[in-house]
Amino acid sequence: MAKKLVAVTACAAGIAHTYMAAEAIEKAAKELGYEVKVETDGAIGAENKLTDEDIENADLVVVAADIKIDPIRFTGKRLFVTDSNDAINDGKAVIEKAEKEATVFGKKGGKVGKIQIGSNKEKTTFFTHVMSGISYMLPMVIAAGLILTIANLYAFQKDDLGRIVKWGFDTSTPMGMLMSNLFQVGQVGFKLMIPLFAGFVANSIADKPAIAPAMIGAYISNDPELLHAKAGGGFIAAMLVAFIVGYFVLLLKKIKWPKILQPIVPIMIIPFIATLFISLMVFYVIGKPIAGGMDGLYSWLNWINANSASAPIILGAVIGAMIGFDLGGPVNKTALIFGTAIFTDTMTKYGIQHANFVPGTAAQAAISVAPLGVWLASIIWKNKFSKDEKAAASAALGMGLVGVTEGAIPFVASDPLRMIIANVSGSAVAGGLVAATGCKFYGGIGSPLGTFIGYIEQPIPFVTWILCVSAGICVTALIIGMTRSTAVIEAAKSVDE
């Protein structure tokens, strides 16, 4: 087996010599037949960070730094300390010297170079894990979202009166069949992105053994049939699953397994136990509240509906807020189902003239607010979004315009608290305004475009609807732009490229 060398490089400005020294050591170590890993402690923080495992397995540790580096983590290892220029000048000579002169750090009286116990920032946070998951999920959201967008555009058709209210695919024609298939493709992508996201968040926390349990757990938590609920838990439940699995697996890794079991611990024991654990958690701890919560929300909406007939703005705003809350999750689905149910119910009882359009219309007005709000914010505050996020925001624009709300999910997942406040506020504004102005949504796209591709009765044709929805979008964008934190921006940019 190849000898293992780990190194840390650092310099004053943290831009130039840190990296030159790293490059020099990497090259020289490979030439000398080492397996090598070099951590760079530069101005942008530690990169390629040495894990406890790396250090434990290393035969030799080299620190090439002009500033103080905390050596405490190298206790018990053979350590050689030099400055960056030495390594840059002749990496090979430094390693050869280290082989001869390195001393075990922490041995009595063993003092090494000018290093000192000092700062050593641990930079993994909640955001690091979530951003890692998002970076894997983004391509899928975008690909699936765009395909769904194309299919959705095709799905709206005129009824006998020439109003665009019918939604569906005429599968008897080749084109209709194709679009119907594409729609399914998009749906598959949206279904897969949830476990994919959870899997890689868990991977970021606890490495490979956590991927399988997190993916399986998140899939179950998002599947209405498996949960025996009217909707799956969406991305919020998936995040919960990912973090539970991540830390549970970390815990399992700490256990001192018997020697004979050790080789199969990461590939069999941990995934098996963690999958069993999370599945039961999802069924009995996460799933039940989702189903129960949806029923509770539904009765609450009924109560509001019955008690706010004179002020439709209240019901409209509540429905809007729910749509923006979890973007396709259980709260969102409850609001959608309620809107359709109330409409169908009142229409069969009192006829179309007296049907209750409020919740259904508010839901449709709110659907596009989150993705379009995110897009608008990314246009106004360019510097507050990473390159990947800007690409995702353009895709969110496409999705938002055809009423696919999921385009905003990556952004919410990366910064749940602030983003949910922004989306809920904007969506409530849009829902409340269309209810207050008495818009009636008969059918079509749930976005500003619905006024053209769809049929909406409104006080001022075309204009009222667009203004109401746009007001919501602006509110969301404004809150996002004003509250976006540097921690989130940094984390997002660090996974770029």
């Binding site: 130039a16 010599h17 030159m20 940019k493």
Partner: protein, 148 residues
């Protein structure tokens, strides 16, 4: 390499400097003239202070002087070629004919600082060093750096 950090106008031929101090002066003038530092004098002091800590001279006549003083307003990379070889106390004791200058803002974004660190890594590549040393044409030099 991003245009804001490096473009052809960041290449400069210094035909006058004979000493390291003169080189620092002309570098500081050039960097602040190009709008990367708000104070020629502060940047000059920054270069000198950095040099005091340890040499920025490298091998094969290349140095990588840099400053992160408060006058730096944006991250930048500058390629300076000297017609007089300059004493620099470099690692192989050869005088310097090429300087890669970095302006490093105190609050630079991670993205940009990463780009600057890439050039440092690239300097360890001998082919890259040869191309920079052997060419005098701005377009060739700019393309070579742009490929980083």
């Amino acid at each position: 390499m991003e245009k804001e950090i490096f473009n052809q106008t960041n290449i400069f031929f210094d035909n006058e400097s004979q000493t390291q101090d003169e080189a620092f002066q002309s570098i500081a003038k050039f960097v602040s003239y190009n709008g990367y530092s708000t104070s020629e004098n502060d940047f000059y002091e920054g270069l000198k202070n950095r040099e005091k800590e340890s040499t920025t001279g490298f091998k094969d006549g290349i140095a990588i002087p840099h400053s992160n003083d408060d006058s730096v307003v944006k991250p930048g990379l500058f390629l300076v070629k000297f017609s007089n070889a300059i004493e620099w106390d470099s690692l192989d004791k050869k005088p310097i004919t090429v300087a890669f200058v970095l302006s490093i803002p105190k609050n630079g974004s991670t993205e940009h600082l990463k780009l600057l660190s890439k050039i440092a890594r690239k300097l360890m590549d001998e082919n890259f060093r040869q191309t920079i040393l052997e060419n005098e044409d701005k377009v060739v030099l700019a393309t070579t750096v742009d490929e980083i």
